[in-house]
Symmetry: C2
Subunit: 394 residues, 2 copies
């Protein structure tokens, strides 16, 4: 898969995870690289988020990421440890610590094993390479309870005739919890952006991708999504056509990557796409989509292959957004189950089979005739989710 010019990566095991699996990723851009970030809305914020948030948008050379320990709820020492991680990385690159971001994911409330990191960061620096294998090694090193590596990339030629690439990596399966935790994402491109442009674009893109996924609605203390542009050496006076098309490519990669998280949701057997139309505005559409996505009754119905329109329609009704009950319509896997505020005749076994036979379930609900619409992705709720999260873990 294509990787953008101007970046090098490394991933390795430095001893944070008792399992011996990879737990340290280092992603470095050439001088002139800029970055923007979006971070958790949780008021309980992990030290690496506080640090990285204070440094973006801006000129950024690198991101150092560890898994196996979230460095969250770790007090003053946690902040000193996060700062030291960026100092160790900066020493290797000959830049200032302010030009390095840090992300952490894993168990909450435990101090980072800094001795491992003091050896691991120089070791990772020694392994930095610009080839695809090194980017995949970095993507592997940020995983926790993920079953599969989450990467997406594309290469494209813009109207100006120039060719660019986007490479994204992410991790996340449950939103949070000791021993698991957190959504992290990193988008890299060689398309030239200023830090301000990157910041504006990332907020737009995140709002229609990573901010539209749910596993169980529990927001992590560590969620971070960073966009790095290594094209800073190029002329930034991009044509509007190039910029618009680049934004569309970035949005597409972000959605592809974001969907991999609920698809890999803890215990999940279905990825549920919920499309809401006809709401008063986009915020109302989002509120309705999230309420449906978070309803355990909707999620268990999908797990069981049950075309249970009553649970979906009533979830829209209690979302706290205005709906027009007489105009409500619902389709599941393309089958009309509810129209003009009343249930339709339909073959329950047929719809049930259409849910059971695939991992991807499409729920389309119209709630009125307003212009507000959105799409949200979530996972179903299974016995395995409960078993996994009931397991004694503190």
């Amino acid at each position: 898969m294509p990787v953008p010019r101007g970046f090098r990566s490394a991933g390795l095991a430095c001893g944070i995870k008792a399992s011996g699996r990879p737990d340290l990723a280092f992603v470095v851009g050439d001088p002139g690289t800029v970055a923007a970030g979006v971070y958790t809305q949780n008021q309980i914020v992990a030290a690496p988020v506080v640090l990285s948030r204070s440094r973006t948008p801006g000129t950024i050379r690198a991101v150092i990421i560890n898994s196996g320990n979230a460095n969250a709820c770790t007090g003053d020492r946690g902040f000193r440890d996060a700062e030291e991680m960026t100092e160790l990385a900066a020493q290797q690159l000959g830049c200032t610590a302010r030009e390095v971001l840090v992300m952490s994911t894993g168990i909450i409330g435990h101090h980072l094993p800094m001795n491992q990191l003091r050896k691991g960061i120089p070791a990772a620096s020694g392994k930095l390479q610009a080839d695809e294998a090194s980017f995949l090694a970095a993507a592997d090193a940020i995983m926790t309870t993920d079953h599969a590596r989450k990467v997406a990339s594309s290469q494209f030629v813009l109207p100006s005739g120039k060719q660019y690439s986007i490479f994204g990596m992410a991790k996340g399966a449950g939103m949070i919890g000791p021993n698991m935790a957190t959504m992290l994402g990193l988008l890299l491109t060689d398309f030239p952006l200023s830090a301000t442009q990157a910041d504006h674009l990332l907020h737009e893109v995140a709002d229609r991708s990573f901010n539209c996924i749910r596993v169980e609605g529990h927001t992590s203390t560590n969620d971070s999504l960073v966009l790095m542009s290594g094209g800073g050496q190029e002329d930034l006076r991009t044509s509007p056509e190039d910029m618009a098309l680049f934004a569309a490519h970035l949005q597409s990669i972000a959605i592809e990557l974001a969907k991999k998280i609920p698809a890999d949701g803890e215990g999940a057997t279905h990825l549920i796409e919920i499309r809401v139309r006809g709401a008063t505005d986009r915020a109302d559409a989002r509120q309705i989509a999230k309420t449906i996505a978070d309803s355990p009754l909707v999620k268990t119905a999908v797990a069981g292959g049950d075309p249970n329109w009553g649970r979906i329609v009533s979830a829209a009704g209690y979302a706290g957004a205005t709906i027009e009950p007489a105009q409500v319509a619902l389709r599941v896997q393309g089958f009309s189950l509810y129209e003009k505020g009343a249930p339709c005749e339909f073959s329950a076994p047929l719809v049930s089979a259409a849910i059971r036979e695939t991992r991807d379930v499409l729920v389309e609900i119209t709630v009125g005739d307003g212009p507000g619409e959105t799409t949200v992705w979530t996972s179903d709720l299974t016995v395995d989710y409960v078993k996994f999260n009931s397991h004694y873990s503190t």
Copy 2:
């Protein structure tokens, strides 16, 4: 258990439930009885709720309640059916249909079997009695997936020297879903109240009892809670002391009854009491308590006996209410797990045992130094909940 003067009840099986279990309850007050009601906030509202809401507060003689069919999402015919249920009841009592309320609970989207009700309501009328057994028969007839009858009552002497009683019945185990559904509650008293007084009191009382329980946070289309006062023949000029003490008794019965619902939550193995203190105001405290109560990660942790403070503290952090991270403190079963924004040293096996050994789990969280506080009750999330709600049911 004591029952108030001035009321008669009946419960029987009229053939709505295929199982042959009781499915029709009739509760009748003497002339002069008044009632107030609070109803679902869902915008998808069942016909009986629309009808009863339009008639309260006011002079009300009776409530007719069926289980096995929610009469929700049933269009115009649903409204005619709900209206006819109150007409049939009114004919038996010689009052107007406007003096009768109606509640329904059970499967959504199916029309009521009116032939059963046209025979059942006169039959129930013939069985009306003022004895305890008849009130318990009515309480049995409103059950759906409930494992146990939910009743509470008290008898007390007020400062004026007069003796009164309160009798309450409720049903509910999951908040909604075809074949299950809905919280219903009925509070009866012989304490003299005007309809306006009853309305004021009921809103106060519901806000600290039935509005503070959660199973999975999915608000039903049919939720109804009604307070009937049969003391209307008496002088309404109650002393402030009597009124205050009566209100306290009513609050206590309402809380006792409300807690029985999450305690009987589908698949539940624990009743979780969540006390929030130190919030900016009561609304913020409520928002934080509900977010903790609705978190599947918190609920699965309790099911597994896991003293997982990270999940509880981070749920408070994403509730959307202001908290002071550095002042956050958490106690579970009396054990301090988190203080001044950082985890405490504690014996995890000891706290785990304290959760496993009882059905009642107490979670106390302080989120700042504000005056806002509240208590919310919820059930844990178990493998049995998911199995039950994944079962094909449409």
